[in-house]
Symmetry: C2
């Protein structure tokens, strides 16, 4: 196995501080946008960069199992919205009491008002049945497509576009609306567009649906449930340093 020579060998591969901050700014200021879409068209150069970012996600065995189904037709958006509305009517019945009241007030998608929809999929048959790295974890191809989604999301944020993940569908209804064959799994339907604003926190955190969990409670050491006690990382996380990259906003 030979590798072509590395043209960028440096003793330290860290980004300069301002570039590193920019990456964190995208990560921390990214939001799941449902409500603030503007009708401003998305230029093809911008959409192209975002999809190219998605296409450069890691994929198991380099299988690149994704497709990007770009939805601009109002009629197709309407079909997708109908599929959402049917599933959401079922979902809203499941939440009782105060949660139910809150659920039924929530706006959970921007399918009709966002200028572009993108359905990201996973073709589970791509490159054949045997995939390097998928031999023991059958979900690895789905996870590759999800990595593409997150690349898309961060690229969109850097471009000033909001993106929202719509997941409240019967899978078969979304496949029907978009003509997706059975061997292809829709990972999600994503609304994409310029926005009036990005909210400072996730909507569900802001309205008190659930709180942000303290990170130090989610970190274990060497074995599940071992909280690390005096591990310096725990002390560091408890001190809650500012989120880098947000100072500039």
């Amino acid at each position: 196995m030979t590798f072509i020579p590395d043209p960028c060998a440096r003793p330290d591969h860290a980004f300069p501080d301002d570039e590193r901050e920019a990456v964190y700014r995208a990560i921390f200021s990214r939001r799941d946008v449902r409500s603030q879409y503007l009708p401003t068209p998305v230029p093809v150069s911008v959409l192209g960069r975002i999809l190219n970012a998605a296409h450069h996600a890691p994929s198991v065995g380099f299988m690149q199992p994704w497709n990007f189904l770009v939805v601009e037709s109002p009629e197709i958006k309407r079909r997708v919205h109908d599929a959402f509305a049917r599933a959401n009517a079922e979902a809203s019945e499941l939440f009782q009491g105060e949660k139910g009241t809150t659920y039924r007030k929530l706006k959970l998608e921007g399918i009709l008002e966002s200028p572009v929809g993108v359905c990201v999929t996973c073709d589970r048959t791509r490159t054949g049945p045997l995939v390097l790295g998928r031999t023991h974890m059958a979900t690895m191809d789905l996870y590759s497509s999800v990595c593409a989604v997150q690349n898309m999301w961060l690229a969109a944020r850097a471009e000033g576009l909001g993106m929202g993940w719509v997941s409240i569908f019967h899978e078969s209804a979304l496949q029907d609306a978009l003509g997706i064959p059975p061997h292809v799994t829709p990972i999600g339907y994503f609304c994409l567009g310029y926005v009036s604003h990005f909210c400072p926190k996730p909507d569900l955190e802001t309205i008190g649906w659930l709180p942000r969990m303290p990170l130090e409670e989610l970190v274990y050491f060497d074995q599940w449930g071992h909280g690390g006690g005096q591990h310096p990382l725990v002390d560091h996380l408890r001190a809650r340093p500012d989120q880098p990259g947000l100072g500039k906003q």
Copy 2:
């Protein structure tokens, strides 16, 4: 439903060009690293920022289903490596002919030589059985943890750290090695550390395992299989603009 006022409302939420380029640079220069780890310790401040980036991934219903199991003990690394080696011996038997010869030469993990391992998990019971947005797509919680993985990967790249996804495990063997209970799904085991270099392309592309697919063949319009013909996005993608963010390397 009320939202707190947006402190960062601007007519244009796009990042300045240099910051946008930095985000793309992280996306395009990120690699799945298996071979180039240095023993240099990872400072807790750096590891803390990377895990905080992961913790700020999107999660369905804001359930934050992830945990981060940090592995530093050589004994535990050895157990994880044993679980990999058993599964990989099985996997390598599945690849025949030339692919089999190539497979058996590949280095697919850096478990023992990377200074830090992180197992990212998904607790499928977190916040109870009913999760907003997971009512119809049961895999949404797993996908949330994968978004955390991709945030981690890009933050690591910006910090100058390589990361590698090890997926060749029987799930139960990885759970056993790390004491992970049955209701918690390990998404993957990730090797993390400073590296001698980042390769310019994915290893599997470089050795010719599979080629990079042309993005324009993966994009459909309004319906599955509709290639868009004269859609300006297709023309744009065919022109293959340079990947932004890599000019500076």
